[in-house]
Symmetry: D2
């Protein structure tokens, strides 16, 4: 059985395994204070065009979201988020566990609108005696969203403007950032993203690493004592070098990527994501050709075809996917993910099935 259920089904890209092997017996200090982390930090800063940024490595997404949010908010503040946002629906209340409300905003195709964000902020700060309500203290977006969609540069610029007006930081969850940057529909660069938000992270777990998320704190006001937050939240890996060397590997130029050109687009990280996006696009086309509608139009590594009962039967036992929901008419919304590890062979086998 071939699985497209998620983008964390396999181990890691071979280059990382090789590096683990090569460096295994080196002695390094713990907790992210080693040379691999330092080198990976330098790479991140350069790729983001932010030589001043603070860069920290954590292990997983829920941990990273809760840690960043807790480091930004005051105890009486909450975080604005799409109702479909990961922190609102899929992290077992990790944010509330740190004492903060997730203020769910309406979402369309996984995205919030600038108007809704503005209304939320004006509604709170525009009233007399707002202290009876949770104060919105930051905006959380995911790029790509949980539905595989992307904000445009214009939308992000608008969020930045609104948030800036109220002094509210903007945080971008980039658990699948590479699949976004590599998308045919992406209209911004990593450097632009870094300039539009206050803090974001570059996801590793779903993008070719064994695990790991690289937090980039652009806004200097949010940097103080962040390592305390990591440690307190249980996110400070003893053998921190494992994180450093994975990101160093992923963010370095892809081998054989040509004549020394450098930049995120040339990195192994984006190269792997680009290939996964292409495979997702091929699947999308095949589902469309097979007559499927889509729950949402997405152009990253996640696609959401709506399957007839008959197609569900044909896939059964041969191809795995994530059941997203069952529609009232009996059809099934499915999520198919590709990743750095999806083989052309497996993708073509699925396309073959859809053709017949």
């Amino acid at each position: 059985m071939i699985l497209f259920n998620s983008d964390y089904l396999e181990g890691c890209c071979p280059q990382i395994l090789q590096k683990l092997q090569d460096t295994n017996l080196e002695q390094t200090p713990g907790y992210g204070c080693d040379d691999y982390c330092e080198s990976a930090r330098a790479l991140v800063r350069r790729l983001c065009g932010r030589p001043d940024a603070d860069v920290h490595f954590l292990v997983g997404g829920t941990q990273t979201n809760a840690t960043v949010i807790a480091s930004v908010l005051k105890p009486y503040q909450g975080v604005m988020c799409a109702s479909t946002g990961h922190i609102n629906v899929h992290e077992t209340g990790a944010v509330e566990h740190t004492g903060h409300k997730v203020i769910a905003l309406p979402s369309v195709d996984g995205k919030v609108s600038g108007a809704d964000v503005q209304a939320c902020l004006e509604g709170h700060f525009g009233q007399d005696g707002p202290e009876h309500e949770v104060q919105p203290g930051m905006l959380y977006l995911s790029y790509p969203t949980e539905l595989g969609t992307l904000y445009t540069r214009e939308e992000l610029t608008d969020f930045k403007r609104v948030c800036g007006k109220f002094g509210i930081p903007l945080f971008v969850d980039g658990a699948r950032l590479g699949y976004g940057l590599a998308s045919e529909k992406c209209d911004l660069t990593l450097q632009e993203l870094a300039s539009l938000c206050d803090v974001f992270y570059i996801g590793g777990t779903k993008q070719g690493a064994l695990f790991g998320e690289a937090v980039v704190i652009c806004n200097e006001k949010l940097r103080k004592d962040f390592r305390y937050f990591i440690k307190q939240g249980g996110g400070m890996l003893a053998k921190g070098r494992l994180l450093g060397l994975q990101f160093e590997t992923l963010l370095s130029p892809e081998q054989g990527s040509g004549t020394g050109a450098e930049g995120m687009g040339n990195s192994l990280y984006v190269a792997l994501a680009r290939e996964a996006d292409r495979k997702a696009a091929a699947l999308r086309d095949a589902f469309a050709a097979a007559g499927c509608e889509f729950f949402v139009q997405s152009f990253t590594n996640q696609i959401f075809p709506i399957l007839s009962p008959e197609l569900v039967s044909r896939l059964e036992g041969r191809f795995g996917y994530q059941l997203w929901r069952v529609l009232p008419d009996g059809r099934t919304v499915a999520r198919f993910c590709t990743s750095w590890a999806s083989s052309t062979y497996n993708v073509e086998k699925l396309i073959d099935l859809l053709k017949n």
Copy 2:
């Protein structure tokens, strides 16, 4: 420079690396629901003689301690702990972060006494209207302690009796459990430990794994919904198989360990620890022969010689160790750790220095 600063300086034992390589492209479900985790759970249960135990894998020690403690305590309860205990002094208040007081008890050589535990419990429950104080809700011990010392079976039995009298669970932090079980002074087996405490963990990070701690919940009352706690606390690794396959490797019989004999003593885990303990003992003897006193008598992989300023100078730039504290007389208490990765060559080089 050769480092003895800690037991998490290197990567992992080669058997684990090999297994990562061998299984890299297998597709497995996430979050600990894969066959490697299942197999490792079965191994743990068998080695503990507890076919009923719940076994969960987390990433690191601070995370594990905070998660287990938060899963056991009610909001108004605290955890009793040696004043030198890791959760009291070295985890940035991760326990308090979840709302619970660490009730520090007096400690000698890293250990609490049954009498102090009993006094704490009787002091609280014996009074009228105790609700103005934090209720002691569990006892946390580390085995070995942070000072490398060990509780005896008799001491643990006494803790169990006292805790049982007040209905208080006993939790053993086994971040370095193997070094304890392999110690020449250890007088109990893993199965006995499992029968004496309500919940404990088998540490991987400091014992040959890249990372990972295996929580064993013996007391069935503490099992309900533990996975929610892991997820909420950010400890549920997406590629959970990485934890399963590491523990499966460590806990399997050492290759070439003989004619099918099985048990914790035969495992790679204990074999690696035994070798590390032996090397620590060799260093201990060498420090003693060189005229050093010890801050504490320990028989595991951590030793605490007291260094004269002259010896400090001779070590400088050649051998690293952890500075524990400076005594009023100017001498230095140092911690030297061995591990699965300490080479005979390096140990002998240090012994040579001490001889001359």
Copy 3:
């Protein structure tokens, strides 16, 4: 200017003031362990028909809600609540501050439906691997709701059935309980309410006391160590007798209520509420006669007429009310509250204005 903004504008009913005077120099133990509290507890138990219930006195509503909820939920659980519920929108995230998500359900006229509660519970418990989401752990209702509406006995019975099926306690916020029990539309008694929910409270602050809420824990599983929660949450009043004597006064039979008849309906508490409800009804009729529509049909002490700009002008400087919201068509939704302290004179002055 005459204010109808809320039901906590004045001090307390004269009977309470008199009792404060009469008992001022008595010496009593603190923290709710005095005879006044004991006597008030006995009264509550008798009126509820629950001789076994635990009764505790706290100071205010937000404190009571957060304390009760934190005492019931496990750390990974959340509380289901109408989107308009007080804990969701007007308590500055006090519930989230204790680590729990408020799971907002759709609401109509301030009420949730049994179907939505059931869907929420089935959605969580019906899935495989639900530990990635917050577990719904209790249902919070307000009676009357924040919009002055009432659940029927049938609706409450249905909630009890659904909650019982999933082992979820039902908590009723009775900050304005008396106004509900005294309403012309109320179809249940205090004893019935007590039998339909697991824990609820009898509000004092808005019903004639200076302050105070009486928590009644019907479900014995929720009683253990509740005083620890009160103390830890800052709700244990040193001079606890102030709470006891206020509730003793309010819940005793109204003086002159006849020949020894006893019961909630005869209490000063309900008598004061009944009079306030009657005055609210008189205002409601007057607004209707003046051509006003209502934002919601309510039959307790809160009414929500929709005011034309012209009427807003006429009220200005003469009568105060709470601005609820401004409608797109420019009309104003207002909240007018009556209370034990609303004088017939003031009510008639407002009716006069509406007549002309």
Copy 4:
């Protein structure tokens, strides 16, 4: 039986009761936004010589401590405190409940030393990589202490200097502030206290009010959004005016205190405390004359005589006191408290018993 167990046995001073009566039917806005609160705030500011200070009224001590501390600390910070401090031993972990460690420092007679505070701060900030430990983020003192003792102006000045060096705020719990300011051993004024600490409170509950604590935030950096903290912590009283009018009464010049002289020393608050301190001194002399030693030398309203078993017998059933602890030699450490409500008659009856 005459009780000296605590200073919150009775109701309130008659002047407050009268004011409650006089104002009972006035309509005021809620939550501390009324004229009584405004007037009391102005009085506090004037008496403190701090026209810029923020003044807030809360209900009780545990609530006030937890709220102030949570408003000052960052999530990874703890509060330094005498091991005997109220927040460490008598508030059911209310501080830990908000996520913060109480860092207990050695105490002598209820007091910490400047040297210990300095050592704690230097120990943390002087190390490399301190993020593995809780960061000390503020200093909590009580004035008077829980043992009735007082810091001198010099000691407080030293605390201010040390704290200032590390940018750490100093918080003074003044639950019994008046008894301190009125003490024969007090060497500082309210204005001096206000200039030496960053935030403190003027206790009402134990000093003649029904309840209430007045928080004075001197350091402007600690003022932002404090009302959110009060509300979230459940400490915002709906009928806030009750707090305002009590403090207005207590802090106004004592009636008949002479020719218009004004100041804290002339206030009803200090006048009542002075009288209580005098009565405690009279009891202290009587216990000493009866041959009792003292657990601690205190010069406020709390005294701690050590009672022989024989004296315990004679007191039994006639005079109540708080049992502090039993000494190994069988004698009893007792706490006797006087208050604004202790009558000369009762005090003399106890003195009579001690004389015979």
